[in-house]
């Protein structure tokens, strides 16, 4: 709804209908629609997460507490407090819908509960500490893989490329079929174990305490190189395949023939005409594979004992720390849904051909 028409309507209608108009206008807006879908995804996902434990008929928390009680020892002291906190959290005597509403209320407040294995600590506390490591690694890696892979695919799909390039890139494409954590194991063996160029595992040297010094930063980067390359190597192929297909599709377009007829330089046709147009579907691809990237990285972190979410998840599974596992699942789904929402909203800015209808 443009401002002009709105102004005309303002003078002729009462405030009541005006408000309804504005509300429906806002609801019809593309960004709002995407945001509502984002909320819908998060709501449906959390409902699934709420239902799963109740379908199985088992109670992992109670079982875990019983197990600890049988073992006795140091855990015994916290047991009462834990049980109380647990009862209060789930309100097990209350009807199902009250439990459900309480669960949603806690989610809105981003209160993910209390760890069972490390009792007084909250899930938020445990997860957010490791989230930094995961996000730092994943951000760098995803952007690098996207750029390198897209570039590789663009050159591969370009008819005027040197012939020998084919033989270099084909093995790279095959790498995309190999799971990231297996590449991680190979990298550890060759580079960290045999050649001893880089550290074997961890996020920083075992004896050091995280500080803001130059030495520590170098140490962190040295530890991040191998996990990063494990993910980059296998992701490059994915981006290259998609980009190559799009490049081939642009070859037949009229604007390519026109650019050629105008006698433009090859490099200009390549970057401004072919790549610019072939790039856009790649951004949509990014939204589709975010989930795969995250789960892949969780396993790579496990292989490297990298102090990110993957390592926390593994520890939590080993200790049957139900709330931590649930918290990690919720946070990852929130993150993926949020990132997809952002990509959806930014996409029309990148591609002016997609007109966003405002009314």
């Amino acid at each position: 709804m443009t401002e002009q028409t709105q102004a005309v309507e303002n003078s002729s209608t009462s405030t009541g209908t005006q408000i309804i108009r504005i509300i429906s206008g806002v609801l019809g807006h593309f960004v709002v629609k995407r945001f509502l879908f984002f909320l819908f995804v998060v709501w449906l996902a959390s409902t699934v997460i709420f239902i799963i434990p109740r379908l199985s008929g088992q109670d992992p928390v109670k079982e875990k507490l019983l197990l600890e009680a049988q073992r006795g020892g140091a855990m015994q002291t916290g047991l009462d407090a834990m049980a109380k906190s647990y009862q209060k959290r789930f309100g097990l005597d209350q009807p199902m819908w009250t439990q459900y509403l309480n669960f949603l209320k806690d989610l809105v407040k981003l209160d993910l509960g209390v760890s069972i294995a490390f009792f007084p600590r909250t899930v938020n506390d445990i997860v957010f500490e490791s989230l930094m490591w995961t996000l730092g690694l994943m951000g760098t890696v995803t952007i690098l893989a996207f750029i390198l892979g897209t570039l590789a695919g663009a050159i591969l799909g370009w008819p005027r490329k040197p012939g020998w390039l084919q033989y270099i890139f084909m093995p790279l494409l095959t790498l995309s079929a190999i799971p990231q954590y297996l590449l991680a194991m190979i990298l550890i063996f060759v580079i960290a174990f045999q050649l001893e160029w880089l550290p074997l595992f961890g996020g920083y040297a075992p004896a050091t305490v995280p500080t803001l010094t130059f030495e520590f930063a170098v140490d962190v980067i040295r530890h991040a190189i191998l996990p990063a390359f494990a993910i980059i190597f296998s992701a490059i192929g994915f981006w290259a395949i998609g980009m190559r297909g799009m490049m081939i599709n642009t070859q037949g377009e009229d604007y390519m023939i026109q650019a050629d007829a105008k006698g433009l330089k090859g490099s200009r046709i390549f970057m401004r005409y072919a790549v610019r147009n072939a790039l856009l579907p790649q951004v949509t691809g990014l939204a589709l594979v975010l989930g795969t990237i995250v789960t892949g990285q969780v396993l790579v972190e496990r292989v490297f004992s990298y102090p990110g979410i993957g390592d926390i998840l593994f520890q939590a599974i080993r200790l049957s720390d139900f709330f931590v596992i649930r918290g990690i699942v919720i946070i990852i789904i929130l993150g993926i849904a949020g990132a997809t929402f952002l990509l959806d909203v930014l996409y029309p800015l990148l591609d002016p051909r997609i007109k966003v209808r405002k009314s």
Binding site: Y167, S176, I186, T295, R302, L313, I317, F322, I332, T340
Partner: protein, 318 residues
Amino acid sequence: MTESVTTPDAINPAESGGWSQFNEERLTPMKKYALRNPSLIVGLSMLFGMLFLVGVGHLVWDTEQFRPLSAPTRLAPTLSHELRDGTTGAFPFGTDTQGRDLLAVAILGTPLTLRVGLIAGAVAIGLGTVAAFLAAYYRGFVDAAIRSVVDVGLAMPALLILILVRINIGRELSIDEIGIAIGLTSWVFPARTIRSQVLVMREQTYVELSRLSGTSGMGIIFKEMMPNLIPYITASLVGSVAGAILASIGLEAIGLGNFSEPTLGMTIYWNIQFSSITLGMWWWWLPPLAAIVIVFVSLFLISSGLDEWSNPRLRKRV
């Protein structure tokens, strides 16, 4: 797409002389096509070559030694090792820190992992195809409902949902149960892609014609659309199998597999758990790793070969 380095033109009867011309006449069109589509052939022969070796292994090797403590521990590959009772035993793949014969593990584990993938792939493609046809053929409310389920499903990583389900079940799942669970969580992607194929197809003239001549909805789906979609569905099936194997190994590597089955994923789990790499026990992690790489690369080649088969527009492009 990835027809590997040989171009289809490499098999050119005019260039390769009399022998190939003789053969050319006798080759059926299917075989001729296979020669033009090397990735399908290479992929299939890799997969079946490995299965053949596994089959031979089953016949000649004592696979009962996959259990822990059935062999000496931490043995590098050897053909003659003196056992405690004085006899000599051969361990061509070595043994691990818990005393498994790793050759037996490799022989049993490879088909088990493929089985998880096949079960999950079949479940996922079955559900996905049904959902896709329901959505694309009947449109309206059905389509809207299925589409939103698919959209939400795509936003939730299957592995995480599997972890939650497995934690709540609270017991180890059997191989078949893992396969079914993975299938149930991974049908949304095939549903989405097959749906868009059906949408294109239902506008085709032969479908219109069939509708005009009074064929029922089910008749159109099974007699007109299905036969044309089979190549595409087969290609998606291969993709789903690969995805399911990836998910099952992920689930096992993170410690939620079946601890009494010697699958490739469980072997990877034990490797990470006992940090075999830092122990220098290369013979422990190399066979499962090689097997997994062969499985994935061959499935990747098969699926791109099938892609070319189902989508002729991809042919002849390098």
